[in-house]
């Protein structure tokens, strides 16, 4: 294995540089991408699968593209993956609704694994938890397109053109979805923020 890796390095020295750049890019987006996928799928493991698939697909098909294009491409792939998983889940839910012993969606949570990476002061943590719960609830109730546009714009910081590319829609559509999402969230979260 190490020999094969050595051969690879010898064959294409640029691959290492490209691999490092891709690794840095993925590290910079992975947590936010996970949150975006989780908001859409409402399931941790599905969200992890979606992000992993998007990473692999980006590496497989688009790693040779300029690094500036990676972000919208990555979110475009993730968006497609989320949509596929939602469709599949719809079919699965229809089938499982006929099944008398429906399985539980999430595995039992491991308190150690679920522990937050960084400890915060309890008061701050409580405040953040309340605000976050309200935000998650409100974002979760948004129509899917509004939700994705809102998260890509607000959390990931994509501009209108990049969001349009990632969503596969027009810039005007992005602006409309974003405005409506903001209006709804403001109406629901005014007192929490």
């Amino acid at each position: 294995m190490s020999a094969a890796r050595g051969d690879v390095d010898q064959l294409d020295p640029n691959a290492n540089l490209g691999g490092r750049a891709l690794g840095q890019f993925l590290a910079s987006v992975e947590l936010r991408a996970f949150k975006i996928a989780q908001a859409a799928l409402r399931h941790e493991d599905d969200a992890l699968d979606a992000v992993q698939d998007a990473m692999l697909q980006l590496a497989r098909a688009y790693a040779h593209r300029p690094a500036e294009e990676w972000r919208p491409l990555f979110y475009r792939i993730l968006e497609n993956r989320i949509r596929d998983m939602q469709r599949r889940r719809t079919v699965r839910d229809r089938v499982m609704s006929w099944w008398p012993f429906a399985p539980d969606g999430q595995e039992g949570a491991d308190p150690i694994a679920e522990a937050a990476a960084e400890e915060l002061p309890p008061a701050r943590r409580l405040e953040l938890d309340e605000a976050m719960s309200a935000l998650e609830r409100a974002v979760g109730e948004l129509p899917r397109r509004q939700q994705q546009v809102f998260l890509l714009r607000t959390l990931e910081g994509l501009d209108v053109a990049q969001t349009a590319r990632a969503m596969g829609c027009s810039e005007g559509s992005v602006k409309t979805h974003y405005f409506r999402a903001l209006r709804t969230l403001r109406a629901q979260l005014g007192e929490h923020l």
Partner: protein
């Protein structure tokens, strides 16, 4: 404060809240994401090497094709080329001589007419001195 400013402030608060929440992912999530990232990078590196090998192969394929096409062309040209070896040339000469005889009307007339006088002259001509051949034959014939 205008409505636009208000909206911008609201967006900023949302962004800060979402960002803080995103960074609070559990160890399990972070571990999974790290593994996925490493897998993607490994795939890119191996894919890059494979791509290089494919690019090399792509250069070899036309070169091999050109060589093969040249060999076939040379073979075809050689098969259609006239034979130039001595034996082939002699065979060609005999064949063309036979053809001349067959198509030569006078030759057939000589054979059919049983013109012995001509053959006698030919033998005589062959036995005669080189210097006298032509004149003697002409005199004997007449």
């Amino acid at each position: 404060m205008t409505s636009a400013d208000d909206t911008t402030l609201f967006e900023q608060r949302l962004r800060a809240l979402l960002e803080e929440h995103a960074q609070r992912a559990s160890g399990r999530i972070r571990s999974h994401l790290t593994q996925a990232r490493h897998a993607a990078v490994a795939q890119m590196i191996s894919g890059g090497a494979r791509g290089l090998a494919l690019r090399g192969r792509r250069l070899w394929v036309p070169a091999t094709g050109v060589v093969a096409a040249a060999a076939v062309l040379a073979l075809v040209v050689r098969l259609h080329q006239p034979q130039t070896t001595p034996a082939a040339a002699a065979a060609n000469a005999i064949a063309s001589g036979d053809l001349d005889l067959l198509t030569d009307h006078d030759g057939l007339t000589l054979v059919e007419g049983g013109d012995g006088e001509f053959y006698e002259w030919a033998v005589y001509e062959a036995q005669a001195e080189p210097g006298q051949g032509s004149g003697g034959a002409a005199g004997h014939a007449h």
